[in-house]
């Protein structure tokens, strides 16, 4: 059963010279529940825009995004916020942790807008990710790899059905990148979450059984007028 189905979505932006640029046009895309897939594509090709539309952060100009049976594109902004909090985990290249909060608080904050605070589960996630002695450390007191693990714990905090990972290893050295990737995949498998990972790094992509070439998937026309 598909956890994510995309049909005929597009996204256009006004260009600085007064024209219109189409950055995204995807006819059809599907991801099965619990499946893991990598989207391969060069920087600036519109992968992040696609993830933002799936997460309900951006509205597409047309088409349909079905997430676990809910048509995301038909929801109001507030409803999309609720859906994002409860059904999605998002891991960013720059981690996007809040500097004033400890590792544990960052994970708890992820829960605050979704399922509600569950300190035990937050600690369990951090322990599972090898951060049992770093829970009260703030992001600047953690290594880059540790920060990425906190971001992963936060993404999994609300037991999402789908995890979106946008270049999650882009800021890590090769060794840490492999370690982080292993953790993301294993944690998603453990929790049963589907994983849609975006990367341009061949060393990452080669580890996935299902890799979709984004440049093939995206039929956007670029500058339209």
């Amino acid at each position: 059963m598909a956890i994510l189905t995309i049909k005929n979505i597009s996204k256009r932006y006004p260009s600085p010279d007064g024209g219109v640029v189409e950055v995204l046009r995807v006819s059809r895309f599907e991801l099965e529940a619990g499946q893991e897939m990598a989207l391969a594509g060069s920087s600036g090709s519109g992968k992040t825009t696609l993830l933002h539309i799936i997460a309900g952060i951006l509205q597409s100009d047309g088409g349909e995004v079905q997430l676990d049976g809910t048509n995301v594109t038909a929801l109001s902004e507030g409803q999309r916020d609720v859906l994002r909090a409860n059904s999605l985990g998002y891991v960013y290249q720059t981690f996007n942790l809040l500097g004033g909060y400890s590792a544990l608080e960052n994970v708890m904050l992820g829960m605050a807008f979704g399922a509600g605070p569950d300190r035990g589960f937050a600690k369990l996630l951090l322990t599972r990710l090898g951060l049992e002695n770093r829970m009260n450390h703030r992001p600047h007191q953690l290594s880059v790899g540790q920060q990425q693990r906190v971001a992963l714990a936060r993404a999994l905090a609300n037991r999402p059905k789908l995890v979106l990972a946008d270049e999650p290893t882009g800021n890590l050295d090769p060794e840490s990148a492999q370690e982080a990737l292993g953790l993301i995949r294993s944690m998603c498998q453990e929790t049963g979450a589907a994983l849609l990972l975006v990367s341009h790094d061949p060393r990452i992509l080669e580890q996935f059984e299902h890799v979709q070439d984004f440049d093939v998937l995206n039929r956007a026309g670029g500058l339209l007028k």
Binding site: T49, H52, I57, A85, L98, G100, L109, A112, G114
Partner: protein, 423 residues
């Protein structure tokens, strides 16, 4: 909003802690504004009440022709210079008037360490009711002065500040305000210290009237020409004079007839009646000072609101990423708006609470100055509606001031900010 108020409150408090310096400065400015507004209203009302309350015990004052306000200030509050003297015979005449219950003469002109010396009759201490209810009481063993001896009774503030106690002696100084340098040779001995009354009389040194007349260098002009008392010889009544006569009337309403008699027909003296109305007139004349202070206080409040707005607004740019992250985690726009308004309201609430300390500080300082200068004691614990509506107003103003930065947080473009931070 999709998040409990408690969580929003924690996020707001955390943010205030993260911006501790600007939070502290903004809280301080809100506290200053709140304290000032409360103090201006409370001091104005309390000083009016305290001064009007201090006038109780007498219905009217008879004194030299001139300003009735000056007369009241000089005799009831022991402030200002004396408008002049009236002949002893005039005192006698009004004391005999059937409409007058009691009449006490006052003679002024000297001081000791800035405390006014008032010559009067010993009956004042037996009959006069300080607050309209109870007579003077002495601290420990005290006695009323002998009208023929150089004895004195001192008020509680005089005893405390000039270090006078029963048995102490002192030399009066010519002039009312303590700036004179002519010391009289006469030695006065303190025979009693009065208990505190929280009224201007606490700052007075009472001596027999005869002593004032006979003080070396004092000239009596009851007949229009100078007369200096001769030792061991009685002073003829026609030479005697008094500075004022404090009156208690049998019926308060008879003051009008007496006022007509002295102020309009005779033109020889001034009768200030009713005393409370004189004080009220004085405060009305000083009303503009209060208005200016109120305007300044409101201005400070507006500046505090502006500083709150600016302080929060300035952090909005650096917090764009924080807002975008919260939104990406599922926080609604309304939640962010609520958090920022909560932050500004918290700052204003803290300011209002600290404002009470500022208020008591200002009130305490004002009360100390007023007591020092006039002997009038203000009640620091007295209730005033401003103590309720000012903090509420401050929090409301704070919440409104938070709306502009809150709208900025509300309109954060999540996708753009997150993309910028990834770039």
């Amino acid at each position: 909003m999709n998040v409990p108020i408690g969580t929003m409150l924690r996020i707001a408090l955390r943010s205030l802690r993260q911006h501790a310096l600007s939070t502290t400065v903004t809280v301080a400015s809100a506290a200053l504004a709140c304290g000032l507004v409360m103090a201006v209203f409370a001091v104005a009302r309390q000083s009016t009440q305290a001064f009007q309350g201090g006038a109780l015990g007498f219905d009217a004052v008879l004194g030299a022709r001139g300003s009735s306000t000056q007369l009241v200030l000089n005799t009831v509050y022991h402030l200002e210079t004396s408008p002049g003297n009236i002949p002893w015979l005039m005192y006698h005449e009004i004391a005999q008037d059937p409409r007058v219950d009691k009449a006490y003469p006052y003679v002024v002109g000297d001081n000791y360490r800035g405390f006014r010396i008032v010559g009067t009759e010993p009956e004042l201490f037996e009959e006069y009711l300080v607050d309209g209810k109870s007579p003077f009481e002495f601290v420990g063993h005290g006695e009323i002065f002998d009208p023929n001896l150089r004895q004195a009774i001192v008020g509680s503030v005089v005893a405390q500040e000039a270090g006078l106690r029963r048995g102490s002696t002192f030399h009066p100084v010519h002039q009312l305000d303590g700036h004179g340098d002519h010391h009289h040779d006469e030695d006065y001995v303190v025979v009693g210290v009065l208990k505190a009354t929280n009224a201007p009389v606490d700052r007075v040194i009472w001596v027999p009237m005869e002593g004032m007349w006979r003080m070396e260098g004092h000239y009596l002009r009851g007949m229009g020409e100078d007369y200096e008392a001769v030792p061991d010889e009685p002073i003829p009544d026609e030479h005697k004079e008094v500075s004022a006569v404090m009156l208690r009337l049998k019926q308060t309403s008879s003051g009008l007839a007496l006022q007509n008699l002295y102020n309009r027909e005779g033109k020889s003296a001034t009768l200030a009646w009713p005393i409370a109305a004189e004080v009220q007139r004085l405060f009305q004349r000083l009303g503009w000072v209060n208005k200016v202070l109120t305007m300044v206080a409101y201005l400070v409040m507006i500046v505090a609101a502006g500083s709150l707005l600016a302080s929060l607004y300035n952090t909005m740019n650096e917090r764009r990423r924080e807002f975008a992250i919260l939104r990406s985690l599922g926080a609604r726009r309304g939640t962010l708006l609520g958090i920022i308004v909560m932050e500004s309201s918290l700052i204003a609430t803290l300011g209002a609470l600290v404002g009470f300390a500022v208020y008591y500080g200002i009130l305490g300082a004002a009360a100390a100055v007023i007591r020092q200068e006039t002997g009038v004691v203000m009640d620091l614990g007295a209730w005033h509606p401003a103590l309720l509506w000012t903090p509420i107003g401050m929090v409301a103003v704070g919440a409104v001031a938070g709306c502009i930065p809150a709208i900025k947080a509300y309109s954060t473009d999540v996708a753009r900010v997150l993309s910028e931070s990834a770039a």
